[in-house]
């Protein structure tokens, strides 16, 4: 255990409610709860390992700048919020609209040191890019809103920055044509569709992107390059549906929603109706809270999590 994690644990202690503050870009701290800040700083970046270790309080922008200098990035859903801290990104687990190509941000977390509700430092995972030693605590931590434990330090998997990232707009996109588009593209990074037109993100070698665009044109899918990256998250609500439900959902609301095709996120002005959770699933959550934070003192009220 590092001295930084130990001192963070000491600050959190074993009693009383605490709120771990990141940059406050995603969630606002409640009043009347003691606030602590996670360690910040990039400790170790190994370009030839494609790993980086840093404090959870490190600003994402600082981490991005360090990695960019060596042509790498880490997927933390930056495009959804841009700013914030590494710990905040992992604790919320919020992906951005490049998830189709870049995967879920939970795949970025290799090792975590967190402080549990008793004030103990607990480690999960390991520093290597491949590891099946023990149960996968890292997956559980991403999206836990800091309520299993306060994130202290993490090791993350980095990736090479694609040679090019380009956006294209294709009009007159019916359900049939959007399905054709999906099956024609090798590995798009994003397909956003509002029922009328699509915005497609292609990444990789510039010549490959040019070839893809030519191929689409040959099949009547004429695209026009757009300069500005869209931000579907400017709509206030997200729906989570299966990728196959997207087609009917968007067709019925053309122009009023934007879907991440192939993923199943729909950006909307309306809130998704609350879903009911299986009681057995809620029970598993309850047992986890009872073990990791028996006094329910970490980040009280954060996240809408079952069993809390």
């Amino acid at each position: 255990m590092s001295a930084r994690a130990a001192s963070f644990a000491e600050e959190i202690g074993a009693i009383g409610e605490v709120w771990i503050r990141g940059a406050g870009s995603r969630v606002t701290a409640p009043d009347s709860v003691r606030i602590v800040n996670a360690p910040a700083g990039v400790w170790s970046f190994q370009p030839d390992e494609m790993t980086v270790s840093c404090g959870a309080g490190t600003p994402v922008a600082e981490l991005d700048a360090t990695l960019r200098a060596r042509g790498q990035y880490v997927n933390l859903g930056q495009r959804r919020h841009g700013s914030g801290t590494v710990g905040g990104a992992l604790a919320t687990g919020w992906n951005d609209h490049l998830r189709l190509g870049r995967g879920h941000l939970r795949e970025s977390l290799l090792e975590v040191h967190l402080v549990d509700g008793r004030g103990n430092v607990v480690k999960g995972g390991g520093p290597t890019v491949k590891n099946v030693s023990g149960f996968d605590l890292c997956r559980l931590v991403v999206g836990s809103h800091g309520r299993l434990g306060a994130l202290a330090e993490v090791t993350l998997r980095t990736r090479p920055i694609p040679l090019a990232t380009r956006w294209f707009r294709i009009d007159d996109m019916s359900t049939t044509r959007i399905m054709e588009l999906i099956t024609r593209l090798y590995r798009p990074s994003s397909i956003l569709w509002d029922g009328r037109h699509a915005l497609v993100c292609l990444e990789g070698h510039p010549s490959d992107i040019d070839s893809t665009v030519l191929d689409l044109r040959r099949h009547g899918l004429v695209s026009e390059e757009v300069d500005d990256e869209p931000n579907p998250s400017d709509r206030p609500h997200r729906w989570s549906v299966t990728p196959s439900q997207v087609f009917d959902h968007v067709s019925a609301r053309a122009g009023r929603v934007v879907a991440e095709v192939g993923v199943g996120v729909i950006h909307s002005d309306e809130m998704q109706p609350e879903r009911t959770n299986d009681p057995a699933i809620i029970e598993i959550h309850r047992r986890l809270w009872a073990s990791f934070d028996p006094d329910r003192r970490l980040n009280p009220g954060a996240g809408n999590l079952p069993g809390r």
Partner: protein, 473 residues
């Protein structure tokens, strides 16, 4: 085994689906390791309901159950301890649904890994995790072990390809962990379940992500005068900002054994060879292939052989994936290790591996996933030689210790099971292990699902812990 339990199992799922003859019990008493346990009965469920009924009977009789896929595990994860009921999923082998537009499929746990890829190849798709045992291992087993394979360097291991699991818990409830939808409520219980080695419950259906086949593939073989030149090339390739589809290494003894077996024209006088595969879109593949060749030559590659066609590519991969079969030409038994180290320490750790083998008077071959630092030292021996097993175990322990000492981990893809359970404290503190115990208890507070694995237990498990003998097949 009490007749009461057997009767209850037979009445639950039908007499033909419950077996207890001595031969079958013996076969179910171990996986592909030879960590031998004792099965009380073997059940062959056909449906999720069958699995629930079996679990209900086990709970009523306070008997543990152990899920078993194809039995290809290498760490004793499916080895039943103390008369546990083995729940063999081989009859649950249906591909339930494929959505080739959304690129996902629902499968039962007994579907074989390669069978799924063969089935979806008509749409230009495949299932990315490709363990060397992919012809015979089951997807349920892949989920249990969070399995890897050569092509997981670029694509990630099983967890990244599983969207949902339907799971029977030890209390008999059937739950869905994760989902086809991208943002299910709550914690990522799916992610916790993948890699839980059968200790959280039994999966009855799995939703997997399918990956589009690359449009271009370039497979190259580079050979070197020293192992270090090869491993330095690996680091330089990654540092150049490239993630090849696969980056595999074979050392001299391995090259010689494989060449005698497949006659692929492998460089048997080289100290090491790298098998590099670049996959993707044409321009990216061409550029990356040039970079790999340049980096290889800068690091002293003697030759760079590029597979000219699919036949040559298949031959090179046959050499890699069948390396273990070729080993039998040297000695009849082998013990395969699996540790991961940071890539930059590959050379130093391999030096230690050769030294350790020499000290124990053993032959060692190395054939491994160099790209992600995943070592697979293969100790070959003849178990009829007196005292050889003790030397094999000593060497194995030393390899694990040296890997961890270099910032590595216990296992990259085989799992902990029984084999590495007692090494867990090398990597984790008591508090870390306690937290892993909490995860298990959250899913299985009764402790009936595959007990005695993964987590070292200071007491209370009695003789079951006494004979972890290691792996020789």
């Amino acid at each position: 085994m009490t007749s009461g339990l057997l009767d209850a199992l037979r009445s639950a799922i039908g007499p033909d689906s419950v077996r207890d003859n001595a031969t079958e019990l013996m076969l179910a008493g171990h996986d592909a390791s030879n960590l031998v346990g004792q099965a009380g009965a073997i059940c062959y469920p056909s449906t999720a309901d069958d699995v629930r009924r079996i679990v209900d009977v086990c709970r009523a009789h306070d008997v543990a159950f152990v899920a078993r896929g194809a039995g290809t595990g290498l760490a004793g994860g499916a080895t039943p301890i103390g008369g546990a009921v083995v729940v063999c999923t081989t009859k649950m082998n249906r591909i339930l649904d494929v959505d080739h537009v959304a690129r996902l499929a629902w499968v039962e746990p007994g579907v074989l890994n390669l069978d799924l890829t063969r089935h979806v190849s008509r749409w230009g798709l495949h299932f990315a995790p490709d363990p060397s045992s992919q012809q015979s291992c089951s997807i349920g087993g892949n989920v249990a072990n969070n399995s890897g394979g050569p092509h997981c360097l670029a694509e990630g291991v099983t967890s990244a390809h599983v969207l949902a699991c339907d799971v029977v818990l030890s209390d008999g409830s059937l739950v869905r962990l994760g989902g086809e939808e991208p943002e299910p409520d709550g914690l990522d219980l799916r992610g916790a379940f993948v890699g839980s080695e059968g200790m959280f419950g039994i999966t009855t259906a799995i939703c997997v992500r399918l990956t589009p086949d690359p449009t271009d593939v370039r497979t190259m073989l580079l050979d070197f005068d020293t192992v270090r030149a090869g491993t330095d090339t690996v680091s330089a390739i990654i540092a150049a900002g490239m993630v090849p589809a696969a980056l595999e290494m074979m050392d001299r003894l391995c090259l010689q054994a494989v060449e005698a077996y497949i006659h692929a024209g492998l460089p048997t006088d080289a100290a090491a060879a790298l098998l590099v595969e670049i996959a993707g879109a044409p321009a990216a593949v061409a550029t990356d292939a040039e970079t790999v060749e340049r980096i290889g030559r800068e690091h002293g590659a003697r030759t760079v052989r590029v597979a000219r066609d699919e036949a040559e590519r298949a031959l090179l991969w046959k050499g890699r994936k069948n390396a273990f079969g070729a080993i039998a030409r040297i000695k009849p038994n082998y013990y395969l290790h699996d540790t991961v180290v940071p890539r930059r320490h590959l050379s130093d750790v391999l030096d230690h591996v050769y030294r350790i083998a020499a000290e124990q008077d053993l032959l060692v071959l190395n054939v491994f996933h160099a790209g992600d630092g995943n070592l697979h030292p293969l100790l070959v021996f003849d178990k009829r030689e007196p005292g050889v097993l003790e030397r094999v175990h000593r060497a194995g322990a030393a390899i694990v210790e040296v890997s961890v000492a270099h910032g590595g981990v216990l296992s990259g893809e085989h799992g902990i099971g029984l084999e590495k359970r007692d090494y867990m404290p090398l990597l984790f503190s008591d508090l870390d292990l306690e937290a892993q115990g909490w995860m298990r208890s959250a899913f299985d507070p009764l402790g009936l699902a595959n007990p005695f694995k993964v987590l070292p237990s200071p007491s209370g498990c009695g003789d079951a812990h006494a004979h972890v003998e290691g792996l020789w097949v």
